[in-house]
């Protein structure tokens, strides 16, 4: 991942727009930062009159004759300035802290909301790790830069500028030295910056190699053990680990050496100014109070300069991170311009009438101008000459025609890459067809609002994804309005009730993220219950039982049969025993249906299906 942003100004302004949501507060922050730095500069300036006008004249004056009122007054003024500075400082820190937290909160929310609206295609073409790193690495760097960098830049610029003006006022001659030093410092920062960034690149490469190796070898650590390969991998790791060490030492040296160089350069400046100033004082070209103030400025001049150079780096990194975050936020959303919606209906005099209450009878509401037509939801799905490819020039499905009447069970058989899962991706419009049309109860599915289309379908996938929450909530995911009783009913239907009861806390048992506390079969049963509670007319089972052994499958089968009863079902299966009792089996190869028919018919054909059943061909 690159460390440098491509459009720094644009991105910076956009980050700013998050920060400046409340414009007044944002302006106030800038004002308060100015006040805080101003107070510091002004405070230093007071040193001169205090020493020159109030302390020096009193030297040697007898205690009784001294006049303290002036000193008290000026110290009081100084205290007032300081207190204003402190209060402004705390106020801007506090407001900025709130603003940046709120900005990050909004950024995260925008990120997540966008994620929910992105098409599946995005997830199929982007690595999860990259998306996650928006939330972790990128937001983190933005956070650091926001809470520190932004105000630091303002206050540094103010300090450097203000201090410079003050110094100019005291002594233009001495300021010249400061200027020369400042130029020198900037040159050094630049030189070391580019040096360290080239070493940094080398280091990043080495880190990538080490992390990759660690990941691969830990992933395969059991294989390593079986092959007695421990010593060999340790040797290999030693090599790349040392490469990293060498690169990191250089990168780190150059990154950290800037600090002492800058710090000590400021002392060198200090020494030069002290000596030069003293010479001037001796020659009566400068008074001692001015020298004191000037020396104090010298010290407070280099600090913000160093700070600025450090912040600059982190801000560049943050902008690069922000660019990635915004790239995700700017991704194109899933198109959703369907007009046909799913509504509850009741039958009155044999005619469908839309109604508010839950009737378990649904219809598609199909608007035609200002009139609309109600079509009963039955679950009739047809493919008309469908052509589809994930990429241009690469067709996955070629002229597919198929029909599933309400209540029919249609099975797809074929090897990986034959296009089985693609068919289900098209039915629920994770992807849209390139040519041809899919109809649902006679309506082109592209006319149906995606939410409603998907609500009328339920899927059970091979990777039964469960969420980190209770068993009950996981089942309820299929229908958020389901009552506890309905949850139990669905679990019973899926034959899951029995094992759930045996869990330590029954329906309230929390399933851990990786689901390690449940067996694969049990997870599958929960997924089936989840689909059951959604109670849709159409069901898609994509390799739903492939990771279960045949004996366990038999236990699930009963639940599956109950679930499938009366619904249109699309089954994709690796194992042939699962598809046997389908109304129609379609054998797919290279995106074409090469055989179709019932189990018996296909066996009689002695074609590909027969070969698969006899185990002559390989499914992989």
């Amino acid at each position: 991942m690159s460390r440098k942003p491509n459009h720094p100004t644009k991105t910076f302004l956009r980050v700013l727009s998050y920060l400046a949501e409340k414009k007044f507060l944002f302006v106030l922050v800038i004002f308060l930062v100015l006040m805080n730095s101003g107070a510091q500069i002004l405070g230093n300036y007071f040193l001169k009159p205090i020493i020159n006008d109030y302390i020096s004249p009193m030297i040697g004056v007898a205690k009784e004759n001294r006049v303290y009122t002036g000193l008290i007054l000026i110290l009081f003024q100084l205290a007032c300035i300081y207190i204003t500075g402190i209060l402004c400082g705390y106020a801007y820190k506090y407001i900025m802290m709130k603003l940046s937290n709120e900005a990050l909160n909004r950024m995260r929310e925008d990120l997540f909301n966008k994620m929910q609206d992105l098409p599946i295609q995005y997830y199929d073409t982007h690595a999860h790790g990259d998306i996650m790193s928006c939330y972790t690495n990128d937001i983190d760097t933005i956070r650091e830069a926001m809470s520190e960098g932004f105000t630091a830049i303002i206050s540094s610029v103010v300090s450097v500028g203000g201090t410079f003006i003050m110094m100019l006022m005291i002594s233009p001659f001495l300021t010249m030295f400061i200027l020369i030093m400042a130029v020198l410092m900037i040159l050094i920062i630049k030189k070391f910056g580019s040096l360290s960034s080239s070493f940094f690149k080398k280091q990043q490469k080495a880190i990538g190699k080490v992390n990759g190796y660690v990941e691969e070898m830990f992933e395969g650590v059991k294989v390593v053990k079986v092959f007695n390969y421990e010593n060999k991998t340790m040797e290999e790791f030693d090599k790349i680990n040392n490469e990293l060490k060498d690169a990191a030492i250089d990168a780190n040296t150059y990154a950290s050496i800037i600090m002492p160089i800058m710090g000590n350069l400021s002392y060198i400046t200090y020494a030069i100014i002290a000596a030069m100033g003293a010479v001037q004082v001796i020659n009566h070209m400068l008074d001692i109070g001015s020298l004191a103030a000037f020396l104090q400025y010298t010290r407070s001049f280099s600090h913000p300069l160093t700070n600025l150079s450090q912040q600059f780096n982190s801000i560049l990194q943050a902008l690069a991170g922000a660019e990635r975050v915004f790239a995700l936020i700017d991704e194109k959303e899933e198109v959703n311009n369907g007009k046909v919606t799913l509504v509850n209906v009741k039958k009155e005099n044999g005619k469908l009438v839309e109604c508010e209450e839950v009737t378990h009878l649904w219809a598609w509401k199909h608007p035609h101008g200002d009139r609309y037509e109600l079509v009963e939801l039955k679950g009739d799905v047809r493919f008309h000459d469908v052509v589809f490819g994930y990429e241009k020039n690469h067709t996955v499905l070629k002229h597919i025609n198929l029909f599933a009447k309400p209540g029919q069970k249609i099975a797809f058989v074929g090897s990986t890459g034959a296009g089985k899962t693609t068919i289900t991706n098209l039915i629920n419009r994770f992807y849209d067809v390139n040519e041809g049309m899919i109809t649902y109860d006679g309506i082109d599915i592209r006319l149906i609002r995606k939410e409603d289309l998907r609500r009328s379908l339920a899927m059970v996938l091979q990777d039964t994804h469960l969420f980190t929450t209770t068993v009950r909530e996981n089942i309820r995911y299929g229908n958020l309005n389901a009552s506890d009783e309905e949850v139990i009913e669905a679990a019973k239907l899926a034959n899951a009730h029995g094992f759930i009861e045996h869990l330590p806390e029954g329906y309230d048992t929390v399933i851990r993220g990786d689901g390690a506390n449940l067996s694969q079969g049990q997870r599958q049963l929960l997924a089936i219950a989840r689909a059951a509670i959604a109670n849709p007319p159409v069901l898609i089972l994509d390799e739903a039982t492939s990771s279960i052994d045949t004996r366990t499958e038999k236990l699930i089968q009963d639940g599956m049969d109950k679930l499938m009863h009366g619904r249109t079902v699309f089954v994709i299966a690796h194992r042939l025993s699962t598809v046997r009792n389908s109304d129609a089996i379609l054998v797919l190869e290279h995106g074409e249906i090469i055989e179709r028919g019932s189990h018996e018919e296909l066996l009689a054909q002695k074609g590909k299906y027969f070969e698969l059943c006899m185990g002559v061909s390989e499914l992989s």
Binding site: G89, M217, F227
Partner: protein, 577 residues
């Protein structure tokens, strides 16, 4: 905790020492600069002594240059020491995990181990780098500054002696108050990221059930909670800035007042007053740095804990002094009253009272439902796990008395969850035997029916396998894994569901090849498909951690209900009904 990490500093101790010295020197020189400045003003200017001014000015310049050299050297030295330490720690962690037994590995999740070896090590290294630089510097600066200030004027230094402890306590209180709040916030942060990750993995489920709106609300709730927690924690921590500014300014005013008085009394010189003010910032800055160290140590202590946990993990399967390296000659296996439990205390046994004898050269089929402990059973033979009770014998020798390396060289196992590594096919095959010739590799691939598809690749045996073997199909991967296992020339071969993605015809061909070319080898085959094991010499039927029956295919088909059931469920309607 720190003690466990100490050995990994070995070889870098001198760098740490030199670095500390350089930093101490730099710090002291730095502090002397304002002191010299006072001399210039008070002696040089007051006496109008130009030579003195130039002499001291020159000295200051030299000192600054020395300090610069020291600082630069310290940067280099601390980089060498810190990164050397980090890299030794990483290496130690990697090596340790390589020596983990299967049960050690099962205790951790793989991603968590990866995080420990990467992110956590980096955190600790960063902390160490910071410590070498500031842990010495700040206290030195603090103490020397106060000492010099005391030398300049012992009365005025009282201001520091009173304010410093008060500020110290205030900073400490802020850290103590904010740390638990930060911990809470970090937990919320991890939770939020975990739920995003979960959503990402399950995006198809979310979309299929039209739950975006629900997920958005759920996310908003935890996102807002995170923000509140974060504001609560930061609210406390930002107090340190006004406290620092307040104390700095207070000290300056106090010094001006009391110091001004002293100057008037001619007990102190103007230059001394000026340098005194300089020391205010120096002293308070080092105090601030000290508190930062404290915060950082606290933050990285979680990483240290996670690393130490792995380093201190007890390896439960190791060689003992008398382990024999005598090679295994025949390859017969015996289980004597073997029980096994994944839990240390021996409860919930997954294998109970297993007694079976397998002769050298026999082919054994193993069948049973998920969770019937078939895999556990075979994993006891190469000592991937140790039997909890009873003993496992190979060639009549207890496996616990054979050197692990010797044992695993003779017992080759193809794991159920197998992996190929990034590298060419040939390199992957040579995992079985580093010194195998190309011809030997080809022979093994012919046995495992992999040769033909390898040759169909444009680059043949030089084809590059991507990490995790993603560019070959499941069936091809399994056949490569078998070939790799065969290259060991094992006396015992264990195939744990290793041909599930291979079609039955190829499966049969592999078994035929094994039988013909390697007839002296004992072979154990776990399979879901009856066809994969039906021609084995004997078949073990597993159920709930017991061997429920042993017999040939024909015998079992006649008498064993489970076997019949599995057979029927697989054959029904396919061949004949």
């Amino acid at each position: 905790m720190i003690k466990t990490l100490k050995p990994y500093l070995k070889g870098y101790g001198k760098y740490v020492l030199l670095c500390t010295l350089a930093i101490a020197l730099e710090g002291i020189l730095e502090i002397l600069v304002p002191f010299m400045m006072a001399k210039i003003v008070d002696v040089g200017v007051v006496n109008q002594d130009l030579n003195y001014v130039l002499k001291i000015g020159g000295l200051m310049l030299v000192m600054s240059l020395c300090s610069l050299a020291c600082g630069a050297a310290a940067s280099r030295l601390s980089a060498i020491a810190g990164i050397g330490f980090g890299s030794q720690l990483r290496k130690a962690l990697f090596d340790k995990i390589q020596t983990f037994s299967f049960s050690n590995i099962d205790k951790y999740s793989i991603p968590s181990l990866v995080t420990r070896a990467t992110t956590d090590v980096n955190n600790v290294m960063r902390m160490f780098l910071m410590l070498t630089k500031t842990a010495v510097r700040s206290p030195i600066m603090l103490v020397t500054s106060i000492c010099i200030a005391a030398r300049i004027n012992s009365e005025l230094v009282m201001i520091f002696l009173i304010t410093v402890p008060i500020i110290g306590i205030a900073l400490y209180a802020i850290i103590r108050l904010s740390f638990p709040l930060f911990e809470k916030m970090l937990k919320k942060y991890d939770g939020l990221n975990a739920s995003v990750q979960e959503n990402l993995i399950g995006i198809r489920v979310v979309k299929a059930f039209v739950r975006s709106a629900y997920e958005k609300i759920k996310f908003k709730t935890s996102n807002d909670e995170l923000m509140k927690a974060s504001i609560k924690a930061e609210k406390v921590i930002i107090l340190n800035m006004p406290i620092m500014q307040f104390s700095t300014y207070l000290c300056i005013i106090l010094i001006l007042w009391f110091g001004g008085g002293l100057v008037m009394d001619e007990k102190m010189l103007t230059g001394e007053l000026m340098s005194f003010i300089t020391y205010v910032t120096q002293i308070l800055m080092s105090l601030m740095m000290l508190s930062m160290i404290f915060v950082n140590v606290l933050i990285s202590s979680a990483s240290v804990e996670r690393i130490v946990e792995v380093l201190n993990e007890e390896i439960d399967i190791t060689d003992h002094e008398n382990s024999s390296s005598q090679p295994i000659k025949k390859g017969n296996i015996e289980f004597k009253n073997v029980s096994f439990s994944y839990k240390k205390n021996g409860t919930s046994k997954v294998l109970e009272n297993i007694n079976v004898k397998i002769e050298a050269g026999e082919t054994i089929g193993i069948i049973g439902g998920t969770g019937s402990s078939k895999s556990t059973f075979v994993q006891l033979i190469p000592r991937l796990y140790d039997a909890t009770e009873g003993s496992v014998l190979v060639d009549g020798r207890n496996v616990k008395d054979i050197k692990i390396e010797t044992l695993r060289d003779s017992v080759s196992m193809v794991l159920q969850k197998n992996v190929l590594f990034s590298g060419t096919i040939l390199e992957n095959l040579r995992w079985g035997n580093l010194h195998a010739t190309e011809q030997e590799c080809i022979n093994a691939c012919k046995v495992s029916n992999a040769h033909d598809f390898i040759m169909s690749f444009p680059e043949g045996y030089q084809t590059y396998i991507e990490q995790g073997g993603t560019n070959v199909s499941g069936g091809q991967k399994q056949r490569l894994c078998i070939a790799r296992a065969l290259l060991k020339n094992p006396k015992i071969l264990i195939l744990d569901d290793s041909t599930s993605a291979v079609d039955t015809a190829t499966d049969a061909s592999i078994r035929k090849e094994l039988k013909e070319k390697l007839k002296d080898m004992t072979t154990l085959i776990i399979a879901q498909r009856i066809s994969s094991i039906q021609d084995a010499d004997r078949i073990l039927v597993f159920e709930d951690g017991h061997i429920q029956d042993i017999g040939t295919h024909e015998e079992l088909l006649l008498r064993n209900a489970i076997y019949q059931e599995v057979y029927e469920s697989q054959m029904k309607g396919v061949v004949s009904e």
